[in-house]
């Protein structure tokens, strides 16, 4: 059974991303104007993908905090909840690997070590996530440095789709890592 956060990622968040896919398909024609329009849609798609992945990670972190706090005495719950989300990176910035690691590590887990141990492909997926974040920042600030973007400032739909597949895999493994960790910590399955 998946976490509520993963259900949301596979549900309403996936539907929102599908709408961008549909918008891309609806821009017809073969003229130069179409290429410009689809490029802007690809930029939007990448930015929205980053935004929804940030939302998923923030959701999963909140869901995990709710479980951790459930086993402590009532008078301690409140300030623990405050401490766990105080200055949370995922509440204010991009979901870059460092932010994800630092927020989940506050729950007592060496997060990325566990994610890498679950599937050796996750090291490359982590690099791919960083690549998406680099593009997201370039799009948001309209500052396209080809050196930081893999030698190009053109973003193709296939690239965004690859990132989306990568994030789907990471989301499933984040869910699994926290499931295993919370089960060991709490003595019961969290979801």
């Amino acid at each position: 059974m998946p976490s509520n956060s993963l259900i949301r990622w596979d549900g309403e968040r996936a539907e929102a991303l599908d709408e961008i896919e549909n918008a891309h398909a609806m821009v017809g024609g073969t003229e130069r104007g179409r290429r410009f329009a689809t490029q802007q849609i690809n930029y939007s798609y990448a930015a929205l993908l980053s935004s929804h992945f940030q939302g998923f990670c923030r959701d999963l972190h909140s869901e995990c905090v709710d479980h951790v706090v459930s086993i402590v005495p009532a008078h301690m719950k409140g300030f623990l909840r405050v401490e766990f989300i105080w200055n949370r990176s995922l509440g204010k910035g991009n979901p870059h690997p460092g932010a994800i690691g630092s927020d989940f590590n506050r729950l007592g887990i060496d997060f990325w070590t566990h994610v890498h141990a679950l599937d050796s492909r996750n090291e490359r997926r982590r690099d791919s996530l960083q690549s998406l974040i680099n593009w997201r920042n370039a799009i948001a600030h309209q500052d396209f440095d080809p050196v930081a973007l893999g030698g190009t400032f053109k973003l193709h739909l296939a690239k965004v789709r690859t990132w989306r597949n990568t994030l789907n895999a990471l989301a499933r493994d984040f869910d699994r890592v926290m499931y295993n960790y919370l089960q060991a910590l709490l003595g019961t399955v969290p979801w």
Binding site: S5, D59, V65, D66, H75, G78, F79, R81, V82
Partner: protein, 73 residues
């Protein structure tokens, strides 16, 4: 029994350690809590003279609505 729902801007009260604290709902975080319960992001001032605000995420059953008190004040 149906879960009580809160909305952005609602004035609420909750327990923080041994104190009762007042805050404002900033976001319905959705049904992401234990057994799908909604969590709410609440902004509050930890001390009356504090310059910065703090945040907490709480389920509905740990929040008390102050809408009635505000409307009659």
């Amino acid at each position: 029994m149906a879960e009580r729902r809160f909305h952005k801007g609602d004035l609420v009260r909750f327990r923080l350690s041994t104190r009762s604290v007042q805050g404002v709902v900033r976001e319905d975080r959705g049904p992401i809590g234990i057994r799908g319960r909604h969590l709410y992001l609440v902004e509050f001032t930890a001390e009356p003279e504090a310059e910065s605000v703090s945040e907490i995420e709480l389920p509905a059953d740990e929040l008390e609505s102050l809408r009635q008190a505000v409307s009659t004040a």
